[in-house]
Symmetry: C2
């Protein structure tokens, strides 16, 4: 019987996520990962086959849930009588920013995600496109319905800008430091609020 709270696989995934966020995929070694996870070095290749596959599993663990949350929030907003632009934006932005509040290392994952974007690694981009492609399409359609006068190409440009700002905000690249008095929760909600207001104005601009 395994009385431990987390299995070997789970502990490896958590440690890998943290160290990939900190040092990058090439920069974090399996020896660092297994040491932080308190497992044997060989455990990675036993449970995941290779380092590259471990990286993929780190993504899958989080993306499936974020994926589902965004879509369900979007559909809930669309079910309303008169959905506002801000609601659609919130459905896109808030689940992502909320991920950084996740109790078990979600904050590390958003930085891993930002790294994945920064790396133009083709296999990783394909992986993200496979997991996100249909989500982005659905959001684009929702925005198009609310902005009927906006050219399609123009919309894609602006959604691209929103994604950039969101990725940036998620990874906390910026110079804005959280004040000691403000909780992480509040900081995240503030960021979402600012981002939504800013983006809705940018999207509506004619």
């Amino acid at each position: 019987m395994n009385t431990m709270q987390f299995s070997t696989k789970e502990r490896i995934l958590g440690a890998a996520e943290m160290l990939f966020a900190q040092h990058g995929f090439a920069g974090a070694s399996l020896r660092q990962v297994t040491s932080a996870a308190n497992v044997n070095l060989a455990a990675v290749n036993y449970h995941f086959g290779s380092k590259e596959n471990l990286i993929n599993e780190v993504f899958r663990r989080r993306l499936d849930e974020l994926n589902a949350q965004r879509l369900s929030t979007l559909r809930a907003a669309q079910a309303e009588a008169n959905p506002r632009l801000e609601d659609i934006l919130a459905a896109f932005i808030k689940p992502a920013l909320a991920l950084s509040l996740d109790r078990n290392g979600g904050g590390a994952f958003v930085r891993v995600l930002a790294r994945a974007y920064a790396e133009h690694n083709e296999s990783l981009r394909k992986f993200l496109s496979d997991n996100y492609g249909h989500v982005l399409k659905e959001f684009a359609a929702a925005f198009a319905a609310l902005l009927p006068t906006l050219d399609k190409q123009e919309l894609y440009w602006r959604l691209d800008i929103v994604s950039g700002a969101l990725t940036y905000a998620m990874a906390d690249f910026g110079v804005i430091k959280r004040r000691g008095a403000v909780s992480e929760q509040a900081h995240c909600e503030l960021a979402a609020e600012h981002l939504i207001k800013f983006a809705s104005a940018g999207l509506r601009e004619r």
Copy 2:
């Protein structure tokens, strides 16, 4: 006499920039760099002392010029009778996006820059802050003068968002692919135009 167009140091810097953009700082080895630069492996340590110092020099080569361009463009805009918000934004955005059109690898550098942001490497952040800090302050003051009713904290939030979108746009993270018929020059100008319009609306929002 050295009849070659580029010195050993310059070729190393160019190859390093390209490979750092492609594989990251940890992912690109000095053997790859020196091989691409067609110089001996030992040349890096001879001319730069270490890999870490080579990374710093890759940044310095570009940042000094970008720095100067942004400030001179900003001051030219401020010298006008009635500077518009869009002009200040252009002074911030256009030199950065134009860097990606630089004949000698500027396009690679902007991706290196995006990587540097994604990596939360403290020494690198300090380096960037040392090189950019006073520039950002000057821009913030210029924006504040044009948006007198905007709260200071609010302004910082929004400038942060602009920086994120710019970094994102510079590195060409997005899904928007340049059409074959559109030149790089035109693509860059389009990106700047969209970004400026979007950001000015976001900044003006009350």
